[in-house]
């Protein structure tokens, strides 16, 4: 294990060498191999003939928050969408390289099972036109993850509590989810994703359509959730990455420029491009 960040931490992480772990100051981090939930190696992604991702290699650590930052169109959302194979519904999309979830290739497992383990919350909240209860129960129902009516209710309540929404909706579980505010709807979507007990939660700019108060609630939530869940968040908002993330990856033009602990990325980035971006010189 390396005791302190070097000047080229990202390249070491990219090679995924066993001992290339990069300990942020102060806290000791176990080696990557034993601690990596998701491991992408040399990932290329194509929309038809357009290559959107170039040789991305990265480790996403268990029970940590990993943030992706970068200007629009840099490939950070595309990369996120490869992690649960959401890209597959896009005609003409193609992936090269490997992604391992707990050491097993995500391309070898059944896709619906993968998505149950790797949940996703989208940029714009997308509750189903159903009641609040049925929204949260949806994943449990389609995956047959409940014993009886009482068990279903318990799971729904637990998920709503984990999403810090229970107190606000407990008296109107049978009302339409569309009656909730934007921030509540987004937390409902998080509760819906949590209901099936995912090991990884992918958040695709979850706060970009929310006001600062609702954003703060979601950020608090992310903080609480990481004890039970590995979280990957794409964000346009650099302060948000700095606040919530343990590790941050900086994407530019389809390449992972630098990946390191959040402190390093924002305080002492190794690459010029990263520094320019986080200091607001472009993007």
């Amino acid at each position: 294990m390396m005791p302190a960040p070097t000047k080229q931490p990202s390249s070491e992480i990219k090679t995924a060498a066993p001992a290339a772990a990069n300990a942020p100051e102060g806290e000791g981090k176990p080696t990557m191999e034993s601690d990596a939930k998701l491991c992408a190696t040399n990932l290329n992604f194509f929309y038809g003939s357009f290559q959107a991702l170039h040789g991305i290699s990265m480790q996403i650590y268990t029970n940590k928050v990993t943030a992706f930052i970068g200007p629009s169109g840099c490939g950070k959302s595309t990369f996120l969408r490869t992690l649960n194979r959401m890209y597959e519904s896009v005609r003409g999309s193609r992936v090269e390289g490997t992604i391992l979830l707990d050491g097993q290739s995500i391309f070898d497992v059944e896709v619906s099972g993968l998505r149950r383990r790797v949940g996703m919350v989208f940029q714009r909240s997308n509750p189903f036109p159903k009641s609040i209860f049925e929204n949260v129960a949806y994943g449990l129902r389609i995956n047959g993850m409940y014993e009886d009516r009482a068990g279903l209710r318990d799971s729904v309540e637990r998920s709503l509590r984990r999403a810090a929404l229970w107190d606000e909706v407990k008296d109107k579980l049978n009302q339409s989810a569309y009656g909730l505010s934007g921030g509540q709807q987004q937390r409902l979507c998080i509760a819906r994703a949590l209901a099936v007990d995912p090991e990884v939660l992918l958040l695709d700019e979850p706060c970009s359509a929310l006001d600062p108060i609702a954003t703060a609630k979601i950020e608090d939530l992310i903080f609480q959730l990481k004890s039970s869940c590995t979280i990957v968040i794409v964000t346009h908002n650099m302060q948000q990455a700095a606040r919530v993330a343990d590790n941050t990856g900086f994407f530019l033009l389809g390449r992972l420029i630098e990946f390191d602990s959040t402190t390093v990325i924002f305080k002492t980035p190794a690459c010029k491009e990263t520094e320019d971006y986080v200091t607001g010189r472009f993007g």
């Binding site: 959401m86 099972g113 998505r115 996703m120 989208f122 036109p129």
Partner: protein, 283 residues
Amino acid sequence: MTNGLLLRRKAVNAVMLTITGLCAFLAAGVLVYILGYLFVHGAASLNWNFFTKLPTPVGETGGGMANAIVGSAKLVMIASCVGIPIGFLAGVYLAEFGGGTFSFLVRYVTDLLNGVPSIVIGIFAYTVIVLPQKHFSALAGGLALGVMMIPIAVRSTEEFLRAVPVSLREGAVALGATKAKSILTVVIPAAKNGIITGIMLNLARVSGETAPLLFTSFSNRYWSEGLSQPTAALPVMIFTYAIAPYEDWHQQAWSAGFVLLTLVLAVNVIARLILARRKHVAR
């Protein structure tokens, strides 16, 4: 701006506003006029007997069109059994699974079918059912109406399914739903009200069709049993009674027209109420 120019603009505005307003008034006025005319002529001779009695022989007064009301209901039922499943499932295919040359052809052909004059569809049913069976039947009439329902059912189903946002589909598959499951549990329920509305308007439309019935279900002055006998239907009765040389038949034709229009209007209003409720819930 000169004063003259301003006056000219005001004048043009006044003239155009009058013309467009007048046309709008005429468009709505035609319906009100028809309704009022039918009410004055039809409601006068409308009585309980109209709904409960059979037509009387020529020369006798009184009687009703009970058999035609039941006959129309029967025909529309048969038509629904043919038109709704085929139209709905084809619409699901086009919206959710189509995309290639085959879908293009199906869309093109349904649009063509929609433009085929209804009497030609009557001839079709006459050729495939009436000629081999050597007698007119409710079945042949119902089939002709059913064929007429298909194109609109296909296109309205397709359009309402397409209107379901991608974000809802993504939300479902991100929770581990297969494509089929997401269509059954999220997409179709989200489009349900629209699809039902489309079907109701479709039913209202074919229930007023006369031409395809003239040589398929033909007509009947008595109760028609089962599906293999010729049957009376309101639109055909209106046609027959209106061109007959008897004054009391003309009165009954007015009454039948009034009843038919009232039913069609009621279905329309209910359908639009359902659609309005949908907008209230979904975005």
